[in-house]
Amino acid sequence: MRQVTRTEIIENIKVRAGKDLLDLNDRSERRVYVTIKKEILPKITRYLFNDVKVRFVIASGVDIRKAIEILYHFSIDEIGLIISLRVVLDKSNLEVDSLTSIMKCASWIEREIHELLGVNFKGHPNLKHLLLKDDWPKGNYPLRKDQ
């Protein structure tokens, strides 16, 4: 398979995202942060994971107080690049499409972010607790800064 180049992959994300691309931080040779609207997250993920066949590293949910950010880190091992897709979720509507149907490996981390930060992943087949016990009090999210 032909090796994808760094410029090519960033350009393709730009084209696919169009006006839904909110910010692109080309931080260094090996780190790129892309902020996109949450509606196009599945589309960009499908491009990266299914078409370019990059590796999903992990997602990290971050409470930035006024909102919750989720960063989906993808590693393009052939060129040593990490692309982090960032979606910002308003605290009044903590909902984003689940990526588990696209990548099985997203299942556990979505469950983890769900229980620790209270984000609802729409369409997750089995959104139960991963780390916390089953009878953990509802509405109590250990990693939230405001609790």
Partner: protein, 395 residues
């Protein structure tokens, strides 16, 4: 309801003796489904990190894992270096590399011993752990500790190496190579180990992509991913070495990859000792700007990933840790199903799971809830299968 029985393995894993829980759904001897539960050992280290200073977090993350204790400080300091956009002094990079590779040797030997025990090769177990000791002795000489070395700090390392130790370290390491040959012979040439481990717990290249597994688990399926090569850090791009891969994807392939990596790690350390430049070992970082950083390290079990967000204060505003086992354990869903109960224990152990970073065993009749087997019985079952193979091959 079918006649499927459920075999709970856990929450203490019979091999690693760390808590997690597998529920095997079995039909006769065949495993038809598996549920995996983790979280028994969750200590909220990421939350604690928010209340520690950047220097203290290095020691905090060192406590995530007791076996590969340097993997997390390695990835964490890489993340801080990425956030600051700095590269530590060259001597510090060589010291980091040596500590990281010594750890890989002792961790792989530990796994090899446990895997041997599981298959009923207690001699392999004793030998592997016996020859792990000289590695710990080296650690004690150069860091002061057999484990939890406390060598790393953002922007460098905490202690320098003494040149007068180098001949002794080299001699000790070289004396291990014939022992590695012995293990290689034991695993590659022994028809029983081969028959027992080849072709079970297979992960294909597609599975590696689907589950995004990392480390020896991926490399044993012929996928040559290794952060040390792909996203070079420390001194890994300054020495000659190769990424070990093996086709096959089963338990056998995973053992082969780990054994061959012992040679590569030894090779890397010897080159580092020869080429280590003199000079500073620390950048003495005082201030942390706001920003974010990502650090990775190829731990013995695969890629460790740390994400740090800084608001310019004294402690991380956010810290995310991903250990390799978080991805690798989930792939058991693929590897175990279709195999037999006697193979399940070694397959579950083959990814070298680490629950510190991410069970008592009982086999219970699903209908009556009556206990049929416990952890020791499962180990016995696995060992008996090896014994059967042995007598079959003899006759």
């Amino acid at each position: 309801m079918s006649t499927n029985k459920i075999i709970p393995i856990g929450p203490y894993h019979p091999l690693q003796e760390e808590p997690e829980f597998f529920r095997l759904h079995v039909d006769g001897e065949t495993v038809v489904d598996i549920d995996i539960e983790i979280g028994y050992n969750h200590r909220m280290i990421e939350k604690i990190a928010e209340s520690k200073s950047y220097d203290q977090v290095t020691f905090l993350v060192e406590r995530i894992c007791g076996i590969c204790s340097t993997s997390h400080p390695f990835a964490y300091t890489n993340a801080i270096d990425d956030l600051l956009g700095v590269t530590p002094p060259e001597r510090a990079l060589y010291i980091r590399t040596i500590v990281g590779e010594l750890e890989r040797i002792h961790s792989h030997l530990l796994w090899l011993g446990l895997a041997g025990h599981f298959l009923g090769y207690n001699t392999v177990w004793m030998w592997a752990w016996r020859y792990r000791e000289p590695v710990l002795d080296i650690f004690e000489r150069i860091t002061g500790n057999r484990n939890h070395y406390a060598m790393f700090k953002p922007g460098g390392v905490r202690r320098d190496f003494y040149e007068e130790d180098f001949p002794w370290i080299k001699k000790t390491l070289k004396s291990l190579i014939p022992k590695f040959d012995m293990f290689k012979g034991a695993v590659l040439d022994d028809p029983i180990i081969r028959a027992r481990t080849e072709g079970i717990g297979i992960l294909t290249r597609q599975d590696v992509h689907d589950y995004s597994v990392v480390g020896p688990t991926a490399r044993a399926s012929g996928v040559g991913i290794d952060v040390r090569k792909d996203d070079p850090y420390a001194a890994y791009d300054k020495v000659e070495w190769k990424v070990i891969t093996h086709e096959g994807g089963g338990v056998f392939a995973k053992a082969v990859v780990r054994i061959l990596e012992l040679y590569e790690s030894t090779n890397i350390i010897l080159q580092c000792l020869d080429n280590m430049p003199k000079g500073d070992i620390d950048l003495n970082i005082k201030d942390m700007p706001a920003g974010e950083g990502i650090g990775r390290h190829e731990a013995p079990r695969g890629e460790v990933f740390h994400y740090i967000m800084s608001d310019g204060g004294n402690s991380p505003a956010w810290h995310k840790v991903r250990a390799p086992s978080f991805m690798n354990i989930a792939s058991n869903k693929k590897a175990v199903i279709g195999g037999t109960i006697s193979d399940a224990t070694i397959i579950l152990a083959a990814v070298d799971p680490c629950y510190c970073c991410t069970e008592r065993t009982a086999v219970v009749d699903y209908k009556t809830g009556k206990k049929l087997m416990d952890g020791q019985d499962l180990v016995r079952l696995s060992q008996e299968k090896t014994e059967k193979l042995r007598s079959k091959l003899k006759s």
